[in-house]
Amino acid sequence: MSLRLVKGRPGIGDQVEGIALVASDNFSARYDLDRINGVFSRRSHALYGQSYVGRILVLNAAKGGVATAWMLREMQARQLGPSALLLNFANPILAQGAAFAGLPLIDRFEADITSVLKSGDRVRVSPCTGEVLVLDRDAAQP
């Protein structure tokens, strides 16, 4: 099996490894998540009902309001957050939230990151260089 490297723009936060949870939907912490139970709570979201806790969360674009900028840190503090965020397009709110929370974030990849990665892939996220390395396909059930 070959390792695959995907390049995005240099991001925010430290290097981390984990299991990907992937959908082509968009993302807002306030709009989409039940942050008490750590699951997606918007019925129309592709990941509805799924836990994002400890996952490398891979989605299309930042949507919605400004609350995510505060919320990511609270989620990390209660150990109920994702371990990294990979998006095709972040917005300032996600960048501000990642900086405040110390949550790894990369965006603007050379290819659609929600197509390149599949839920269950084990990946290494390196914000300093903007690189994501696929270590193992289907390493775990999402």
């Binding site: 723009r9 240099p10 991001g11 925010i12 807002s28 306030r30 709009y31 989409d32 998540l33 039940d34 709570s41 918007r42 019925r43 129309s44 979201h45 674009a61 930042a62 949507k63 919605g64 309001g65 400004v66 609350a67 995510t68 900028a69 505060w70 919320m71 840190r73 609270e74 503090a77 209660r78 397009f89 972040a90 917005n91 300032p92 709110i93 960048a95 501000q96 939230g97 900086a99 405040f100």
Partner: protein, 415 residues
């Protein structure tokens, strides 16, 4: 490469205390992420810091800043607040838990000690200090940002809480995005053919365009608006567009200040996407409930202006909200005082409605108050509110202000 002047270097080095040092570190991380070349001074900050978003961790963080010596913690530019999580005078009427109110008090105490003005409003551009064209700002609510950028021609990105706080402590933000001329050009044309009557139509238009936005940097250009909308109409349009699209700027040709003519903001040979009555109807249909059950009617998001409150008061005057339904409206403390003085609050109260001040429905622990009151089916004339509450276990319905009032009185959804 992000350049800093001598004063900024000193703040980053901690010469002016740890709060300003932390703030500079935040600004620099975000500035580098978006390739900012330097920082730009801002003249006003609008800070979103409701306790639901802050959480215990965020409140502890604010209390940490508040514990620094006064010279190190005072904000450097006028800073006003977005709606809070509880109306201290009325929270029992909607069965908010005391623990949330206690969190709210802690956060407010911390913010006040930084010299922040507790205006508790998302319509600061209507009620506190309307920005001026070209003014650089750090606005922290999507609705206030899109209004300031689009309707008033001021310049700001979405500055979420930590970032707006950093701007308040340093008087600066990274210069990227909508501070720069090149990002303020239009990218996508929309030709509006739909008829727009009440606020919910303007919100529906914002929702339909917002759903087509693919990234933060896409700027819609709206054509076909024959006569200038009111401040409240364009407020509902912008709030819905920003909510559905995460969009901070639009141009409306012949209406907004940077778009006198189409060619001022976009290549006029670009194809335009038509928005018709059918598009707005399809959006409304996507929100059609399975039956006419109704639990709560909410007028909020954005908070109501004095004019909207007058309209609501007139519709409710002499009527009675059905005992099985709650009716809630939210506004700013300043407008609530005016409504009290001008005999508007009495009409809303007299019909059994609840007028809250300094809060917005989705920013006051909407999930928990829904459970405490048995609210599941919610009707509003705000497309923004309808969008947000989909993630909070509510089934939401959009209707005109008149339809919302008639439904509240009937105790069931009436068209």
């Amino acid at each position: 490469m992000l350049r800093l002047d001598d004063h900024e270097q000193a703040m980053l080095a901690g010469v002016e205390g740890r709060a300003r040092q932390w703030a500079m570190q935040q600004l620099i991380q975000v500035g580098r992420f978006f390739d900012a070349k330097d920082l730009v001074k801002v003249s006003q900050v609008h800070l979103m810091a409701d306790t639901e978003a802050l959480g215990e961790e965020g409140i502890r963080f604010l209390e940490g800043i508040a514990a620094y010596p006064e010279a190190e913690r005072r904000v450097r530019v006028p800073t006003v607040t977005d709606p809070r999580g509880a109306d201290f005078a009325a929270y029992r009427r909607i069965r908010q838990k005391e623990e949330f109110v206690a969190l709210e008090k802690r956060a407010a105490d911390a913010l006040r000690s930084l010299g922040i003005l507790m205006t508790d409003t998302c319509i600061n551009y209507q009620t506190i200090l309307p920005p001026v064209k070209g003014e650089h700002l750090a606005f922290g609510d999507t609705g206030s940002t899109i209004y300031a950028n689009s309707v008033l021609g001021a310049r700001t990105n979405f500055e979420g809480g930590p970032s707006a706080l950093s701007a308040a402590l340093t008087g600066r933000v990274p210069r990227y995005g909508f501070h720069l001329d090149e990002h303020r050009r239009g990218t996508t044309r929309f030709a509006v053919e739909a008829r727009l009557a009440d606020y919910s139509d303007w919100g529906a238009l914002g929702a339909v365009i917002g759903r087509r936005m693919r990234s933060y940097f896409e700027v819609p250009v709206v054509e076909g608006i024959a006569s200038a909308p009111t401040s409240d109409q364009i407020k509902h349009f912008g709030a819905a567009l920003a909510s559905y699209g995460s969009t901070p700027l639009f141009h409306m040709v012949g209406v907004t200040p940077e778009a006198g003519r189409l060619s001022d903001v976009i290549d006029d040979r670009a194809p335009a996407i038509s928005i018709t009555d059918a598009d707005l109807a399809a959006y409304r249909t996507s929100l059609t409930p399975v039956d006419d059950t109704l639990h709560v009617v909410v007028f909020a998001a954005p908070q109501l202006s004095l004019i909207e409150l007058q309209q609501l008061g007139t519709l409710l005057d002499g009527r009675t909200v059905h005992p099985s339904v709650s009716l809630i409206a939210t506004t700013s403390p300043e407008i609530k005082s005016a409504a009290d003085r001008l005999d508007i609050t009495r009409k809303i109260d007299g019909a059994g409605g609840i007028l809250l001040q300094g809060v917005c429905f989705y920013q006051m622990h909407a999930r928990e108050i829904g459970e405490a009151n048995g609210w599941r089916r919610l009707m509003s004339n705000s497309a923004k509110l309808v969008n947000i509450l989909g993630g909070y276990n509510y089934e939401t319905v959009l209707g005109s202000m008149e339809a919302c009032v008639e439904s509240a009185v009937a105790g069931r959804i009436v068209a």
